[in-house]
């Protein structure tokens, strides 16, 4: 999952990037409205966090312009302004949620998870066949048996499972799992996919990740009888 943080206060931007990366997110940071908007327009983010009072274009304006471009990316407002009018105004300008500074980091994570939950799933456990991954604790289970993944492997599997039954191109995977400082070629994905396949096989989940030639990969439940 790739996030964009638009925040001018360096101290806040730093701990957000650090903390979120430790939660297996790929995080880009912009320190003003203009560069934040540029990043938001060029990259496909899974969630954008915007501070209201930032130099250049204000957070509200950034939010409005993102929405005007037709994007429905979840936007989370991050601000010290806390009056009712501010909250209402912020949400009305197109934000999905609003978190007041100072906030609990755990609460921020929970709110991010809410925005990333698709189709209103009621839990943070994602399943494909016998595979279960928990987005909160970062645990992976095959049936009831837990096995371990590296952060990057987890992020990759998490992304593929969230998009299960949909083919994911290599470039999309790169965009959503690695941050903007990663310019290496997409063959790194194949390496990680190999690692993942091995670990899944060992755990007994079978071949969940299938290659779509010329496109990328897809995660779907395999039915033994049809093979």
């Amino acid at each position: 999952m790739r996030l964009l943080v638009i925040e001018d206060e360096t101290g806040i931007a730093r701990f957000l990037k650090e903390g979120l990366e430790e939660e297996y997110f790929a995080v880009d940071v912009a320190f003003d409205g203009k560069s934040g908007l540029d990043l938001a327009m060029t990259n496909d983010y899974d969630l954008i966090m915007v501070d209201w009072m930032i130099p250049g274009i204000s957070g509200v304006e950034v939010c409005k312009q993102i929405r005007r471009s037709g994007s429905s990316v979840p936007i989370l407002f991050l601000t010290a302004r806390d009056t009712l009018e501010d909250v209402v105004f912020g949400l009305d300008s197109g934000a999905n949620d609003y978190i007041k500074k100072p906030f609990e980091f755990e609460e921020l994570l929970a709110r991010i998870r809410v925005q990333l939950r698709k189709n209103n799933q009621d839990t943070d456990a994602l399943t494909v066949g016998t595979l279960t991954i928990n987005a909160v604790t970062h645990q992976v289970f095959c049936g009831s048996k837990e096995f371990t993944l590296t952060p990057k492997e987890f992020a990759l599997l998490d992304y593929l499972v969230r998009n299960k039954d949909r083919p994911c191109s290599r470039s999309r995977i790169i965009e959503h799992v690695w941050d903007m400082h990663f310019y290496s070629d997409t063959s790194v994905i194949d390496v990680y996919i190999n690692f993942l396949r091995k670990k899944l096989e060992q755990a007994g989940c079978g071949n969940l990740i299938q290659t779509i030639r010329g496109v990328g990969y897809i995660v779907r439940e395999t039915r033994p009888e049809s093979e």
Binding site: G11, I12, E22, A80
Partner: protein
């Protein structure tokens, strides 16, 4: 504790003892009606009195005429008595009347009565229409006398004329009377009409004036409605101005102007609160978040040290901000009264310069006293030093390395002026008026590198106001800024 609601009605009661809680509209109608009622009563009374007088004047005129006619018939000149025989005509009318009695009697009753009485009170002769009745004669009256009397129960106006012989002794009285019944009825009717119409007119008048007063004070109702609906959230409401530029227009305009100032003050207060909360919450969020992320995982010592140092810096910045905010709050609440004394400004300047010199030396900035500043000023020594200190540290902050700052004093029309001039980046013309505003920074991006909050100069302004010191600023971009303090004559 006093409950505000308790006091209001009491004041109301003492203010309008006789007209408790009457609306302005009713009061206006009431006063107007009372005044008009009084005036009408006076006018009605005058009319009644005048008509009464005129009626009696006419009666008296008629009587005089009648007396003259009687004298003429008797061939008597004036009031000279020349024997009773001359007045035979009075009796004669009686004889004539007998011929066509029935019909004439009624007519005669409405006309004048004549009676001749001798000095002893004996009736010598009288007109036939008097029949059994006699006219009152009062010998106590001297000369010709007009008065009201009764004949057979009917009101009459009569005159008593003494007839005097050649020796000047009254021998007889000629008494003539006319009935007043019809005139009195007219008078009574008039009086009744007035008595009945008076309250009716007053009542109608009260209702009308109440309606008119209500209509003319309708704009006041609008003022009340607008003022009542005004709250913190809809301070942008204004009273609609009436068409006529009258007193109510001025009242509405004045109240609107008051609302403008209120809204402005409220807006500034809101902005200040928002700025203060932003300034406090941002470092708080940074410290809190940094520490939260820090403890999520074990890290190496250097990482811990770096993050803790960062947090400590942020905390001391917050502490400085809180100090400045508290200081500003104390001055704004006027809980800090200046201890104004006559002090030598040179002493204050030297004290501030020696305190800030190290900062200037660090940036290779020289602080120069242009002339030996001298002069006694009336100021609070601690406050004055803080003012000069804030201005000077600003000057050092925004001056390039190697430049100089000049401090000088001068007398301008007997007032002492102290100026502090730097050769720094300067302040753009359009931003000059805002430099004393709380949390105002000329260049927002400059804040992080210089570490200011934009409160220093607002504290200076507040302190200047408290001590009645004039403060002004002039600047040229990239040339420098001059602050001037004008002291009141000591």
């Amino acid at each position: 504790m006093t409950i505000p609601g308790d006091k209001a009605p009491e004041r109301h009661k003492t203010g309008w003892k006789y007209l408790p809680s009457m609306s302005l509209r009713n009061r206006m109608a009431f006063y107007y009606t009372v005044a008009t009622a009084f005036l009408m009563a006076v006018v009605f009374a005058a009319i009644l009195l005048l008509v009464d007088r005129i009626v009696f004047m006419h009666f008296d005129e008629e009587l005089r005429h009648e007396v003259a006619e009687t004298f003429e018939d008797a061939h008597v000149k004036g009031q000279v008595f020349s024997g009773f025989d001359s007045f035979r005509a009075i009796n004669g009318t009686e004889g004539e009347a007998e011929e066509h009695e029935g019909q004439a009697k009624k007519k005669e009753l409405d006309s004048e009565f004549i009676q001749l009485v001798d000095s002893s009170g004996r009736i010598v002769s009288k007109s036939a229409n008097l029949s059994q009745n006699i006219l009152t004669v009062n010998p106590a009256y001297s000369g010709v006398r007009y008065f009201n009397s009764l004949v057979g129960g009917e009101q009459v106006r009569q005159v008593q004329v003494p007839l005097v012989n050649s020796k000047g002794i009254t021998e007889a009285y000629l008494v003539v009377a006319v009935p007043m019944k019809s005139a009195m009825l007219v008078l009574l009717d008039l009086q009744n009409i007035m008595l009945v119409s008076f309250p009716v007119i007053i009542l109608i008048l009260f209702i009308l004036t109440r309606v008119i007063a209500g209509r003319s004070i309708r704009p006041v109702e609008k003022v009340i409605a607008t003022a009542q609906s005004m709250t913190q959230v809809n301070l942008d409401q204004r009273i609609p101005l009436p068409h006529n530029q009258d007193e109510l227009y001025r009242l509405s305009a004045t109240i609107n102007a008051l609302f403008d100032r209120l809204q402005d003050a409220f807006q500034r207060e809101k902005q200040f609160t928002a700025d203060a909360s932003h300034e406090l919450k941002t470092p708080l969020a940074a410290v809190k978040g940094t520490l939260e992320v820090l403890v999520r995982k074990p890290r190496d010592t250097a990482h811990y040290e770096e993050r803790i140092r960062y947090c400590l810096d942020e905390l001391s910045r917050m502490a400085r901000l809180i100090d400045q905010l508290l200081m500003l709050a104390r001055y704004e609440n006027d809980t800090m009264n200046p201890n104004i004394a006559k002090i030598d400004i040179a002493v204050s300047l030297k004290s501030v310069i020696s305190r800030l010199e190290p900062l200037a030396v660090e940036k290779l900035i020289s602080i120069r006293m242009e002339n030996t500043p001298s002069g006694t000023v009336a100021a609070d020594p601690a406050m004055l030093e803080m003012m000069i200190g804030n201005i000077l540290s600003n000057a050092i902050k925004y001056s390039p390395a190697g430049s100089s700052i000049e401090i000088g004093t001068a007398r301008r029309s007997s007032l002492l002026v102290c100026s502090i001039t730097d050769h720094g980046v300067g302040i753009p013309e359009e931003k000059l008026q805002n430099v004393f505003d709380r949390f105002y920074r000329v260049d927002a991006s400059r804040s992080s590198s210089t570490g200011g909050f934009g409160l220093g100069l607002s504290i200076v302004r507040k302190l200047a106001d408290l001590q009645h010191i004039g403060i002004s600023v002039s600047s040229r971009e990239n040339a420098g800024t001059t602050f001037e303090l004008t002291f009141p004559s000591a």
